[in-house]
Structures are given as C-alpha cells and as structure tokens.
C-alpha cells in the first residue's frame, strides 16, 4: 500500500470508516480460526455499493490485495486479512431491500445477517433455509463466498441452492448481474450463480443477492436418541436412510461434545456416549406417520433413551446445544481445530473408528459433532496452544483426518471451505491439471490475483503453514499463530 493508494482511499472514505491505527486493526487480525492472524494494512467500512466498487477498482489499479469480511466467523480462515492488504468490512451493508412473500424471494445486501432474513420473512410464514451454526451473526456475503451449509442441508441444499440472482463486482472492477427472480435462477445459459457461490472470495464481491425463501413447515418433530456407543448412532443413521425417510436434519454428537454443549447451554442432554438428533418436518399428517416409523427404527437401533421435543422451546434448546457445540468446546480446552471432512455416509462408522485410533496415536482429545445425514464430519481437535509443539501435533492429526476422508472417497471440506486452513490439502483432492485449470480460471477473472490472495490454492506468494516449525512469514513477523 503506497501513499497514492491511501490518498485515493481517503477520497472515498471519511476518517471514521477508514481504519489505520493499530488499535483499530488488531481486532480484525483473525476471524473464527484464531490459529492464524495477520494485520491488514487498513480496514474500510463501506456503506453502499458504489464505495465497494470504487474500492475494488482502486485495489485493481494499484495491485493491492483485498479480502471482503462480514462478521469474521469463517472457520477456515476465509476472511483472514492479507498482510498489508485491504480488509473491506461489509457488515454495514445490511439492508433487506425487498421481500416478496408471494413469490417467496428476498433481495438483500451482502452484510445482512443470515438469521435476519428468516426473522423478516417470519410474519409471512416463510424462512431462509440454510442455517449454519453461526446463523445469528454470519452474513449472507460470507455464506455466498463459502457456500455455507448447516444442519438442514441434506434435504434443501446449501447456500448455492437458495440463491436465485446476484449482482457482483469482479476482482478487476467489472460489475455484472446474473440470475433472476424465478426459482430457475439463471435458467438459460451456464449457471453462473453456482460458479460464483463457493468461490471463497477469489472472484470478487457480491453486491446484491436474491435469495429464495421457503414456507415454514407446519410441524417439526425433533427426536433426541441416546446411545452408549458412537458406532450404534452411526448405524441408526444408515437405518433411517434405508427406510426411505428423508429427515430435514440428522446430527450426531459424541460424549465430549455433549459435555461441552451441556455445560454451555444446559440443553438437558442425556448422559450418553453419543446423541443422535433427527428432525422431521412438513405437513402434520405426513410427519406423524413418518414419526411412527422413525420411532420404530430408533428403538430397533439400540438407543437407550428416546426423547421428543414437546414444544418449540424444547426444540430450540436441543438445537441451541448442537449449534453452540463448537464454541462450547472452548470451555474444555484453550484451543482447538474444527475439521470439516466428508465421507460417504455408509463409511461413517469406519471413519469414526479411525479417528479414535488417531486420538490414541497423538494423545489428543477429539470431540465429534457432525451432520450425519450427509456424512459431514466436524471433529474438534483439542490442544493447548501454549504447549510447545501442540499446535503442530493437532494440525498433523487434522491432516490425517483429511487424508482419511479422501481415502474413503469423500472431501476435505463439506461447508467451511478451503480458505487458509486447508489449502495445502487441495492437491490431495484435485490433480495438478485440475488445480491449474482452477488457477487459470481465477486469473482470467482476477489477472492481478488480488481478491483474497493466499487462500484456497496451495503455495503462491503466502505459502501455507507447514506442519512443522515456523513459517517464513511467521519468522518475519508478518503472520502469527496464537
């Protein structure tokens, strides 16, 4: 960042929205992946579309790398600042510009909080379906960048499946629109929404998003089943699937995760080795019949306790425990890594056994919370960052879990994205040629490679942290792990 660039920034932003002092920049050093931190050169807080576009064009002209940031809740370091780059805070663009309940759509700015859309739609009997655990604070812009999922995406998909139209500024400053208000979205021509959503901020910034809303189900039936064995809970999931039921959500938590959630939310979870949450939703008559079948399956599956949420408050409490589980682990351990691997559902049991073996091998605790319906594992690896070599050990264990997921035919990330955290693992999933093609695609959109530079792709100008020892940039004091 040179003087001319700063002067140009000053012409766009008043001083209170152009942050440059240490005290203003430090709190932006990390997102929800605190293993990484990097101080940005400056933070700007635009309040309208024009300011964003001007800022991106300026960055392009001066070849200054930038990262867009909503609420900083990425678990893969997706909104980690680029050292000496610009952080563009979008949380003030938080207007819901249009809500059309008849056509079940909403048009929103990128800084709108996920849950706010559902709150605004609630009086019309509608809601916004993707529900990442951080939905009370994460923004749609971030959801777009990382194609966020949640507990309910087996049935209704992830963010990408709920976006119908977008206006974006590409990394070179070009503004373009695609999609429509039809549920078909783009409809005719390549599905650009599908391409842009999940591009981890490497293509540009979403300025305006049209999302589809869904009718609130008439009833929910939320069932909590307790098991004295994690494998049995996993088998129950397979049994539910085999029965032809299509629950809105199927979640598993293991003992450690249950303990943390219980300490945090007091959800009243039973004392168990594993909990399975299954949620049915839909028309009451249909759900009641499905519920009878589900009860039969769960009884057969060897659950020692079965609870049914009797009220909306009880349902909320069950989910609050599950959704707060990641952060609740903060009560058990000073530091932890959240992993996000996917395995084919039928190999869940195998994966859990292997993770148990890894726990023993590394002498580290691992709490398991996962979206069992779609095989999306979230092992939380507990460590104490103050102990010498602890992070490296935890990262090595995390790496083995990812390798395991790939070996079982899955993916290194189901919903958190590659970001900073997993870029070294991209080559394990894609061939050199496939990565080259993705890189070429990135360069065709962003020739100066300024948008979220250093994320997703291995190597490059800010290479990933190696599993052992200090990274050169760490040695230079440019980035640090805490």
């Amino acid at each position: 960042m040179n003087r001319a660039f700063f002067a140009a920034l000053e012409s766009i932003y008043p001083p209170q929205r152009l942050l440059t002092r240490d005290v203003e920049l430090l709190p932006y050093e990390s997102d929800a992946l605190t293993a990484f931190s990097a101080k940005p050169g400056a933070v700007v807080l635009p309040v309208n579309e024009a300011e964003i576009v001007d800022t991106v064009r300026l960055c392009h002209d001066h070849a200054v790398p930038f990262v867009a940031r909503g609420s900083g809740t990425s678990l893969s370091g997706g909104s980690l600042p680029i050292p000496e780059g610009l952080t563009i805070g979008l949380n003030r663009l938080n207007r819901i510009k249009k809500l059309d309940p008849q056509q079940r759509i909403a048009v929103v700015e990128p800084g709108v909080i996920n849950l706010s859309i559902s709150e605004a739609a609630q009086p019309y009997g509608l809601y916004y379906a993707p529900d990442p655990s951080s939905q009370s604070i994460c923004t749609i812009g971030g959801n777009i960048a990382f194609n966020s999922g949640g507990a309910h995406c087996l049935k209704y998909g992830m963010t990408s499946n709920h976006v119908l139209g977008m206006k974006v500024v590409l990394a070179d400053g070009t503004v373009t629109k695609f999609g429509s208000e039809s549920v078909e979205g783009v409809g005719i021509g390549p599905d650009l929404i599908g391409l842009f959503v999940g591009s981890e901020g490497l293509f540009g910034i979403a300025l305006e998003i049209t999302v589809r809303l869904m009718p609130q189900p008439e009833v929910y039936r939320t069932v909590l089943a307790a098991y004295d064995d994690l494998g049995r809970a996993g088998d129950a999931v397979s049994m539910v699937v085999a029965s032809g039921l299509l629950p809105g959500a199927m979640e598993i938590m293991d003992r450690l995760a249950i303990e943390a959630a219980e300490a945090s939310v007091k959800a009243g979870y039973p004392d168990a080795e594993a909990l399975l949450i299954v949620e049915l939703e839909g028309e009451s008559i249909q759900v009641n019949t499905e519920f009878e079948r589900l009860q039969g399956i769960i009884q057969q599956s060897g659950a020692f306790e079965l609870r049914v949420a009797e009220s909306e408050a009880e349902r909320t409490r069950i989910w609050k425990g599950r959704k707060g589980a990641f952060s609740a682990v903060g009560r058990l351990s000073p530091d932890y890594i959240v992993q996000d691997g996917v395995v084919p559902r039928s190999r869940l049991g195998e994966a859990l056994l292997a993770i148990n073996a890894l726990k023993v091998k590394y002498g580290l605790e691992v709490a398991n919370v996962f979206h069992a319906g779609d095989g999306n594992l979230h092992p939380l690896i507990l460590y104490d960052g103050r102990a010498v070599g602890a992070l490296e050990k935890a990262e090595a264990l995390a790496g083995e879990i990812l390798a395991l997921c790939i070996n079982l035919g899955g993916s290194i990330t189901g919903e958190h994205g590659v970001g900073m955290e997993k870029r070294d693992y991209l080559p394990a999933m894609f061939s050199e040629e496939e990565i080259d093609i993705m890189q070429a695609l990135r360069r065709s959109i962003d020739p100066r490679e300024i948008a979220n530079r250093g994320k997703m792709f291995p190597g490059g100008e800010a290479p990933a942290l190696k599993l052992q020892g200090l990274h050169p940039l760490e040695k230079a004091g440019v980035i640090s792990r805490e």
């Binding site: 605190t34 900083g72 809740t73 951080s134 604070i137 932890y336």
Partner: protein, 404 residues
Amino acid sequence: MATAIEKCVHCGFCLAACPTYSLLGEEMDSPRGRIYLMKNVLEDKLAAEDAQPYIDRCLGCMACVPACPSGVEYGDLLVSYRALQEAERRRPPLDAMARNLVISTLPYPKRFRLAAQAGKLGKALSGALPLPFASMLNLLPDQLPASRPMPPVLPAQGERRGVVALLPGCVQQALAPEINFAAAQVLAANGVEVHNPPDAGCCGSILLHVGAEQQAQEIARRNFIAIPADIDAIITTAAGCGSGIKDYELLFKGQPDAERAIAFSRKVMDFSAYLSTVGMRAPAGFASERRVVYQDACHLLHAQSLHSEPRNLLNQIPNLRLLPIADAGQCCGSAGTYNIDQPALAAELGRRKVESILAVQPDLVVSGNIGCIAQLRQQLQSQPKPPPVMHIAELLWKAYTGSD
C-alpha cells in the same frame, strides 16, 4: 482475567447481541473486539489509552454473556480490567470532573439531593454546558419528589410467608422514593414482613462500574452491618444493585470479610424474582384493559437471567395485556452511568428502544430498574402523547389498590 480471555474462541456469536456493535458496526466496539484489545493491552502489545475509548463505550449490559457458547465471563473481565486501568488512568479534565461528581454524589442520597438542587439551577443552563453534563442534568426531574419515609418494619398481611430486608439503594431514594414504597406495600400485601434498615444504603455497584473499586468496597461494608442476618432475602428494586452485589465475590476477593460478602450476596434477590418465588396473591386488577410493555433491564435479563418472572407477575393481573416488542433484549442505553459517559450512543439506543415501544401502542411502560425508567421517560418526552413509565412494583401496587 487471563482465563476469561483464553476462553474466548473468537467465534463472533456475541456480536449479534452487542448494542454498540449494532450501532457502530466495527469490530473494536464488539465484545470479541474488546476482549482482543484488553488481551493486547495486558500483553503490552497495545497502549491502554488507545484501547480505552472502546472499553469505555461498552455499556456493560452483559447481553454478550448469555450469547457466548464458550462461557467467557465478560462481566468479570470488564470489571477487573476497568479497576486495573482506573488506577493508572489520567482523564481529560472535564471527564474527570463528571466522573468525580458521579463518585461523590450518586452513592449518597443526601449529597445527591443537594447536587440535584444545584442541578435544577443548572438545567436552565444545560444548553451552554458540555454534553456529558447536560445529559446528566437531563436525567433529573424538575422537582425532586418528597421522600417517602417507611417504618423500620412493615408487618406482613395475613399469613406470614417470609421476612426480607429492602435495600434502599442510592439515586433511587432521591429520584423515586415511590418505588421502594410500592415494593414494600406489595410484599406486605403478599404476607412478607419487610425490614427497612435505616443505615443501609448504596451497594457500591455504580462505583464499581466506573472503576472506583476501593470506594465500592467501603460503601458495601456499611450494608453488612446495617442489614440483619436472620432474614430470608435482601430485596433490591434496582437491577444494577442485584447484579452488582453478585460481583461481591470478585470485589472482596482476598479481603478479610470476603466470606461475609459472599453470604450477603447470596441473599440478594430482585423484587420480581422474590415475589415469583413466594407466589403472588391475586390482585384486584384494572377496570378496563391496560396495554403494557415490559422493558427488560439488562442487569435483570442478562446478568440475572430474569425473563419469565416479571412477565408471569404481570400476566396474573386481571385486564392487563402484555405486549411483546421488537428487539426486547436490546439495551435502552441507560446502562448505569452510560447515559452520562456516552450521551450520543445512549440517545441513539434510547431512540431505537422508543421506536419499538411506540410501535405496539402501549398505555404504559414498566421496567424493573430506575435507570431504564429515567432513560425511557427522557426519550419519550418529545413524543406527543408519551405513555407513562413506571417500576413494576408501582404497577403491581396499583393493581392491588385498584387505583389508576
């Protein structure tokens, strides 16, 4: 402090609950950001005075505490940090004057009455005064109400179901003596014997809030002596006192009378919580429907987890209709001395609160805390037909006496 900081995993769940983050939209003005700033100050990576404006802007409303899945004790952290910094802090002259005025008057009802009379004179000049002073004066009514002396013991009516001491508090005594009067009457009507120890007074929370730790301890000790030990509960009618006294364990850590302080703090209960526990005898209620908004005081809702208790009491009043409002858990901007320290932000929070209250068109507004009441009255006064604002104890007393 270190534990509280370490527990923070930077997940950001607190941001949604934080009033200053919702107003200012920047990370430094969020709980997560403040924790990070405090951490950097404590690790000598950042100068304390650089971080101070952001710490000062914290309302201390504690909305972030229930929102935190990791269980960060933000309140303890903030109180400890403020106390630590206050010792070394040099304030600009005007701020220092305002703060000294707070420290030397607010906890002392008699002094406060005197200052208030001076303030009455000052009110005419408030336009010429700097903003911090003006906002303080705005809180004062034109005429201080006459004090409502109470007998040392108010006997229980009917079967005696409990014995309590009523903590008189500080500012409230001078500004609104009718609150404790009403609370005592309602308790007595419910079979509770109410003691009014003449030497009891301020709990010290307001001093702790501005980081004057030592003065806070001194003033708290007076209550240990003044309040008899053989009672069921010590009742407060001010949210800040209730939650502040719960911090005595922290305040008196390492002091010789630490145990006494803890025993004292365990007996303290908010008026609405106590009344819910003993169970309310059916009041007469109102002749015609009253549309009522209950405004949660942060130090009842977030710090003491009192949500359903006051609402259940109100719902037992015949002909009273309780109206839910948008963003009910959001601070009104009063927050102890916040409306004195941060008048602009407090006013904006007040404006938002008034907007959501007026949207449901209530006949009256009740709250469990004098600070919220004063803030709402002030924010409502510019409205054409402002609904009256009163303490929940006052409304209950009206419901018992059948007066309107």
